[in-house]
Amino acid sequence: MSQPAYTLEFPRVTLTVSKTRNPAVTLLSAMIYALAVSVSRSPSALLLASILPAMMLKGFPPRYLARLNVMNAVMILTLALTWPDFSDGFRTGMIIALRVNMICVVLGGMLRPLGTGGMYEALCGLRVPEKLRVLVILTLRGIYTLRERYESAIISVRLRAPGLSGLMRLKVFACMMGMILLQSSARSENMTRAVKCRGGFAGFMQGGNSAMNARDWLCVSGTAVYAVMIAVMNLA
């Protein structure tokens, strides 16, 4: 049986909201950690930075980690072969792979449980402009709305033209995309009218208790201190 011309690779997502801490703190802390690790090169700094991901590794999907490291292996090989010196390139590749693993484990552990509501609250807490917040939420809503349309369009293409090949495959993809764009435009006009009827974007979606208090700032400061320690070890 021939392979399908298109498949929609829509990963599983978490839609729950974490209530344990302020999402803005989580987002900010994750970002500070990622920045600190991104600029670390020395073994001692990387060792210090590995404490947090080591604590979060339990419960991290091993399949995702395996897939990530397949890509890392390709990257290490590419750097080793293209670097002026093979061993230097290999070493640089290994350091990058280690950093990628640490950051991905921490981001996965901290951000995925946030879910969509948590992310919106995080953006509110970080004082992101309302236009951008509305854009985030509506884009997310659109993804779920239009996902079904894509899936049915792909099934339709598979049924009507199973043996697509060459330029025709790209042409059909472009036409499918065009039709979904038209549907999304029609849907957006209806949504705009509905929003206007309800009084516009004023208070479109209220972020919960998202303002950062002293305890939240203390948590962020803790992460910042950890990041500074990593940076100091890196310089040393």
Partner: protein, 199 residues
């Protein structure tokens, strides 16, 4: 075309964030509040289209669709790219947070540039051949420009990345051609069925 976390230096990450803040501020200022919903739904359509795995010969690829995004969204493309990359990072674990600024520049600048260079020409073009050639050029240029910006960022991080950058550019040539073809078909379809999309 994503740059992974942990590769770029602190300076390059900072430059990426500065570029993103400037581009997003410009885009948000130029976006009419009445068009926010349309922008959001169109960017969702592009986001999902980039998740569709298109089989090409023995391999398969995900398209970036930067040029159609630029041609349709115009100046609102920068915030749309940032939102798409943020959602990919937070919900699906693709890309990253520290590198979000750099990746937004890698994908947003070509989309905006294509909209500025080819937007008007594509709108006023009449013959099918002329529309196809212009949109093919737009699609190809957007991918190569994105790969070029990613390459510059890698080279700024460490000059020894030069070999990898050359490989990156060469590897993107077939992707650019495929994107050019898809852009040409899509723009020709829109010119015929819904020309208001390109205005």
């Amino acid at each position: 075309m994503h740059i992974s976390e942990g590769i770029l230096s602190g300076g390059v990450l900072a430059v990426g964030w500065a570029g993103t803040v400037a581009g997003v501020s410009f885009g948000l200022k130029r976006t009419n509040p009445d068009r926010i919903i349309q922008t959001a739904l169109i960017s969702s359509a592009f986001f999902l289209a980039s998740l569709v795995n298109v089989r090409i010969g023995p391999s398969s690829t995900h398209l970036t669709l930067l040029a159609p995004m630029g041609l349709i969204l115009g100046q609102a493309v920068f915030p749309a790219v940032l939102v798409a990359l943020l959602l990919q990072a937070v919900l699906f674990g693709f890309g990253g947070l520290a590198v979000l600024g750099a990746n937004t520049v890698v994908m947003g600048v070509p989309a905006l540039a294509v909209s500025m260079i080819f937007g008007r020409a594509v709108r006023v073009a009449t013959g099918r051949g002329r529309v196809a050639v212009l949109s093919f050029m737009a699609g190809t240029l957007a991918v190569m420009m994105g790969a070029g910006i990613a390459g510059i960022m890698l080279w700024m991080t460490d000059a020894d990345f030069a070999g990898a950058v050359k490989l990156l550019l060469v590897a993107h040539v077939p992707v650019a051609v495929i994107e050019g073809v898809v852009t040409a078909f899509l723009v020709m379809w829109l010119k015929k069925s819904a020309p208001e999309f390109l205005s």
